[in-house]
Subunit: 143 residues, 3 copies
């Protein structure tokens, strides 16, 4: 049973995520994701990646290529809930701001897990209703 | 007297709202609004509508007409407070993102009520400082 | 030791801030900042200002000059933490929306203090990764 304290802790984790990305603070990704977390960008034609190193690598490449004009990534609309089988999920939204002032809207569908260090994302699956999202430059497959 | 738990529950309701709108999940509107809730878009020349069906209808039409290029609606800045007469209010903000990357800023002035199912919005009155807001295509009056 | 209730109260303060700014509600700034708070816009070439009157003056001028087309300022990504020496900090983000739909991304690095009236910001230091931020019209030095 989720308490308000759990939800606040999950807010802290999800809100902190964008600070880490914007600061390229890959060493701190373990504060956000579990060790074996999966980041599933299949909506943009990628194979899901697993583990903190692979997630850091995917994000670093993304910021060097298709999002190289990104000035900030913002998170909004955290809604945390529990499935009948006890799976803890969050639906949230994100805005990627580009240097020309454009905002790109996407959604994060997360599964959370309670670790010894606190709540962590164990699976993130973004999606977007932006018609241009499908044609954003594809990242090369992670090696 | 509002507790931090009440405020977190209200965050959950207000944050969830935009997910429902973006997913056209009108059947779930009762998780957000009370049965007799009033949605007052009078700042754009509409009569206020009352009840879940009328609110769903207003939103569905809005997404088909003036906001038909909307890629996401994001909520921010939830501030919950209690009037001296016990009325619970929230001031919040929203960003509507269009397919060309433009962001439209508006405010939500809400009154909340505690129902048997939890906190719900019983009156929402949006406003905007966007000079173009007044000229956004008017919706036809709800029937 | 910060509790979830403390963090929620800090959310309330930080989220309320943008409502005050957008409403030019300078008389309420004492609900956000401590009496001797410092607002440090040195990233844009300004001397830090101290005290509620000086902060109100800086903001009012900013909205009359460089941000005179601002339609709303939105806050996101509040992450509250405590240093080993007990200093309470928040990392947060802000989006300034202009009348043409552009969004400008910036970060707020805050120090919080617990006063008799509740949590207040005692030092705010904004920064931005927006390449145009450095060339935004400089405000004249506060007198």
């Amino acid at each position: 049973m989720l308490t308000a304290d759990d939800i606040m802790e999950i807010h802290q984790v999800l809100n902190r995520y964008h600070h880490l990305v914007d600061n390229h603070d890959w060493n701190a990704l373990g504060q956000i994701f579990s060790e074996d977390a999966v980041y599933d960008l299949s909506y943009r034609g990628h194979e899901p990646v697993e583990g903190l190193d692979a997630i850091a690598s995917l994000m670093a490449r993304s910021l060097e290529t298709e999002f190289n004009t990104q000035t900030g990534q913002h998170g909004t609309n955290i809604f945390v809930f529990e499935d009948s089988d006890g799976t803890v999920r969050s639906e949230a939204k994100t805005l990627t701001i580009l240097a020309d002032g454009r905002a790109l809207s996407a959604d994060y569908h997360d599964i959370l897990t309670r670790t010894e260090s606190g709540w962590r994302i164990c699976r993130r699956t973004p999606s977007s209703r932006d018609p241009s999202a499908a044609s954003w430059t594809k990242l090369s497959p992670s090696s």
